[in-house]
Symmetry: C2
Subunit: 296 residues, 2 copies
């Protein structure tokens, strides 16, 4: 199968699952659903769900079992963007080429919509776990991995470091700490849960972790590169914002050329980690190549 077809198919599956799992009501509090939908269906790449599905398919044909978890990852990712854009945080007026949530719905609604998306991620996983024909202990383990990755020792912790600890980012290992938490943690858990629920062995899960960690880092470096030499229209946001905000990035710390070399090295290591899966990982390998060539 052609990679582009494969990717489009995965994204379609995720879009449909998100629509199916996003439960809303036409009641007094309906504004919260409008606000949550606005950000959840804003043309995101669905990277984390696609990684989960892609890893899962190495082990299992029954992708429907992981869809609630894939949806949860996208909701967690989306809530983090809604809260990060708030005036008290990064104060961003635009996201994906349109008004950020608080600019459209006001700050209070944006705070509550973020809370609602994080909460709904767990609502969906727990509700669907009661129906899925997988050992319940394994399902709890999967949810536990996801919860840990989005918490204060994962994504939230990374956002704290990004917001308040700029002065503690002095070398590349500090930057890696930030990246590993802020964006890497939920990319890793997406991949691991895809494998775990597919029945991966411990050795296979170790390979998946390594794949996801390298891919996550390469992905972040690509973000930093695009902020310097990307196309504002394709990105849906102005370029040069990192430099304008004095943000420490891979590009600002090691320069554009070194950043590109590091990105290539990490991408190759991600691909290398998949070697134990042989032909079954062809699409994931294509995805690695695709993600570092992306323009948005």
């Amino acid at each position: 199968m052609n990679f582009e077809l494969w990717l489009n198919n995965k994204v379609e599956i995720v879009e449909k699952a998100l629509k199916d799992n996003f439960t809303k009501n036409d009641n007094k509090q309906k504004i919260i659903y409008e606000s949550m939908e606005y950000s959840l269906f804003a043309g995101g790449k669905r990277l984390r769900p696609v990684i989960m599905l892609g890893v899962n398919e190495i082990f299992s044909k029954n992708y429907k079992n992981v869809l609630p978890f894939a949806c949860a990852m996208e909701m967690i990712h989306t809530y983090s963007l809604v809260h990060d854009d708030l005036p008290a945080m990064d104060d961003d007026d635009y996201r994906r080429g349109r008004l950020s949530n608080h600019k459209k719905f006001g700050e209070a609604t944006a705070i509550l919509a973020g809370d609602g998306l994080l909460n709904m991620a767990f609502e969906i996983m727990l509700r669907e776990s009661l129906k899925i024909d997988i050992d319940k202990e394994l399902l709890i383990k999967a949810m536990s991995i996801i919860a840990d990755s989005s918490g204060t020792e994962g994504m939230i912790g990374g956002q704290v470091v990004d917001m308040f600890c700029e002065e503690s980012i002095n070398d590349i290992s500090d930057l890696e700490y930030l990246q590993k938490h802020k964006t890497g943690a939920i990319i890793r858990s997406s991949a691991v849960v895809g494998g775990l629920l597919g029945g991966a062995t411990d050795i296979e899960l170790k390979a998946i972790e390594k794949f996801a960690d390298n891919l996550g880092s390469a992905f972040q470096i690509q973000d930093d590169i695009l902020d310097v030499e990307g196309n504002a229209e394709k990105l849906g946001k102005p370029i040069g914002s990192d430099e304008g905000n004095n943000k420490k990035t891979y590009v600002s710390m090691i320069g554009l050329e070194e950043a590109k070399k590091l990105q290539e090295k990490l991408t190759n290591e991600a691909i290398e980690s998949l070697s134990i899966f042989g032909d079954k990982s062809i699409m994931l390998i294509e995805m690695c190549k695709y993600l570092v060539k992306r323009e948005n």
Copy 2:
């Protein structure tokens, strides 16, 4: 056993469990733990955990099994207060007699601390569920009930109505809708999960729901009454704030005397709901009486 002793014992158990389950690290993001601790250990009444333990004890002697869930409820309750106090929401500078979280740590940290507490609630429940010797499906069901109660059809939904739909609160049934969601939902789930994990039957769970719903309403009315005739020092906040904010309350809608009558009726119904448990519910009955006589 004397009720006061019973209550103090329960609160002590909860305090210890919260300290044990609140995992923190002395790392780059440690400010988030300070902020979360500041609000979590601010002298709250621990009402929801105590209700959960009190209901559980009707059915089981093994209260340790429910402690992770009791801690989760308190974290969910605390995060809702941290976010509700934010400038974009109720804009409260004080909470429980001291600076609100954002006044102490700044808005960005308060937003992230709230996120962190909600996330940690699920981290704890999921991690501990892997260790507890109770049927895993029942544990997932308990977490699912909690997640639903704190979401957009529960607590968050109630906060949305409270923030944006004042004009839609026209009669006592509208006010009940608000209360049932904003404060009632997680009081109910605390009670239900206490019963469920203790092994309560469906009929018993129905009685517990009725008890919790009536108690939750009576509790809310007491809050409204205290805002009119309470003691600012004991409350840790100024009185008259509801009237100052033009908030619709039971007192503003039906008057102080009628509110007191309704509160008494609901308290009696809460106590009546417990009758099927006979002597085993003595302490819960005492708690109902205590909660409507409270001064803070």
